[in-house]
Amino acid sequence: MIDKTKKELEIRFPLLKLVREMHNYLHVEVEKASAMDAILMAKTSLGFKTLQLISSVDRMEENLFQMTWILENYNNETTLLISARYPRENCIVPSLSDIWPAASAFEREIFEMFGISFPGNPREGEDFLLEGWKDIPPMRRDFLTEEYSMKLYGERQPREHLDPRQYIGDMVGEWNTPMGQKRKEEK
C-alpha cells in the first residue's frame, strides 16, 4: 500500500529523505522549496485527502523549525507525514488554508506558539489561546517558562521533606513484613 506512494514520491522528488516507514505509515522529509508541491501531489494524485494536523518542532541547535504536515488516506487507511525544515529567523511558511479550510486553525495556533507566520491565511494574527500575549512565543525553546511563571504568578513554597520514613518511621517498607521484623531484631 505504502510502497506505491513511496515510489511515486521518489520519482517526483529525488532529494526526498525517508524518515520512517511502516506497513501503513510513511514519514518523508523534503526540501522546503518542494514541500507544497509534495503536499498538493499527495492530495490530488495519491489520495491523501484529509489534513490531520500541522505541527512544528523547534530545532534551536540547528537554527531551524521543522514543520510536519500529517495527511490521511481513509480509502486504504494510510498516513503520510511530510516534513520540511525552515530557517528559524523570521520564519515564513506558505499557508494551506485555501486548500484545507481546517488548516487555518492549526496555522493560527502555530503562529501564536512559535511565531511562524503563514502569509495567505485570512485569519492570521487572531487570538487563539493566548489573549494579549506580549512576550516571545511560549513554545520556542529560548522562552524560559519557569522563570516567567515565577516572575508573573509568584513562587510556590515546596514541601521541605518528601521522605515518608520520617513521618511514619518503622511502619514503612521492609520493616513491616515478618522477615523485616526478624532482620530488624538481628540488627
Binding site: L129, L130, F143, T145, E146, Y153
Partner: protein, 213 residues
C-alpha cells in the same frame, strides 16, 4: 473645599474603564462597589442559617477538577441532599466553585462571573492548582494562587479531590456561613484596588469594564 476639588475627588473615586474603546465607555457603570453591613445580630444569624441551607452553585467548569462535580451533582453522591443546587448563570448563583487550574483566558471569565454574582457570594477553590500551582506551577499560562485575584472562602486540597472531599468542603463552608465568617464579598470591595492591580498584571488585554455587574 470648593466645588472644583469635590469634582476632582469624585472623578478619582470613579472607575476609569480605560480598557474599553472610547465609544463604549459611557455604556458601562463606573461607580465603585460598596460594602454591605450586617443586620442586627439575631436577624443576621437567622439569615446566615437560611443562606447556609440553600447554596446555589455556579455550574461553570473552569478546569479539570470540574469533572468531580458531575458525580457530585448526579445520583451517586447527590449534593441536593445537602441543599446544594447547580445554577446556569452567575446572576442566580451564590457559590462559585473554581475547578482546578485557571489559565489566563479562564481567569478573565472567572473575574467577570464572580463580579456578576449577586451577594452574598462565596468561593470554593478545589485542587492543588488553585493553592500553589500544583503540577502546573511552572506553566506560562496558569496562575499559581487564586486568592491574589478573587477572595476564596474554602480551599479543598487534592489532585483532584474526590466528591467526598468536596462534600466536606461544602460542609466547612456551611459552618463558616453560619458563624458569619464568610466576608469575601466585603473583602473584595475593601481591597478592590489591590485585586484589580493583580488582575490587570496578568490579563494583558484588559478589554472589559473595571467592574462588571
Amino acid at each position: 473645599m470648593s466645588k472644583k476639588h469635590i469634582d476632582e475627588i469624585e472623578k478619582q473615586m470613579k472607575l476609569a474603564n480605560a480598557g474599553l474603546p472610547e465609544k463604549e465607555q459611557g455604556l458601562f457603570e463606573n461607580t465603585r462597589p460598596t460594602t454591605v453591613d450586617a443586620f442586627n445580630k439575631y436577624y443576621e444569624g437567622f439569615l446566615n442559617w437560611a443562606r447556609s441551607r440553600s447554596l446555589w452553585m455556579l455550574a461553570f467548569g473552569t478546569g479539570c477538577g470540574a469533572t468531580e462535580l458531575r458525580p457530585l451533582m448526579t445520583s451517586r453522591y447527590d449534593m441536593s441532599r445537602y441543599g446544594i443546587a447547580p445554577r446556569p448563570t452567575p446572576r442566580q448563583a451564590s457559590v462559585f466553585v473554581v475547578g482546578g487550574y485557571a489559565s489566563i483566558k479562564t481567569i478573565k471569565r472567572i473575574v467577570r462571573s464572580y463580579e456578576q454574582m449577586q451577594g452574598p457570594k462565596y468561593v470554593i477553590a478545589l485542587g492543588s492548582c488553585t493553592i500553589n500551582g500544583g503540577m502546573y506551577y511552572d506553566s506560562y499560562n496558569t496562575i499559581n494562587r487564586l486568592d491574589y485575584y478573587i477572595p476564596v472562602d474554602v480551599y479543598i486540597a487534592g489532585c483532584m479531590p474526590r466528591p467526598e472531599a468536596l462534600i466536606a468542603g461544602f460542609k466547612r463552608l456551611k459552618e463558616k456561613i453560619r458563624a458569619g465568617e464568610c466576608e469575601g464579598m466585603n473583602d473584595y470591595v475593601e481591597k478592590f484596588d489591590w485585586y484589580k492591580e493583580n488582575q490587570k498584571q496578568i490579563i494583558k488585554d484588559w478589554n472589559m469594564p473595571d467592574y462588571n455587574w
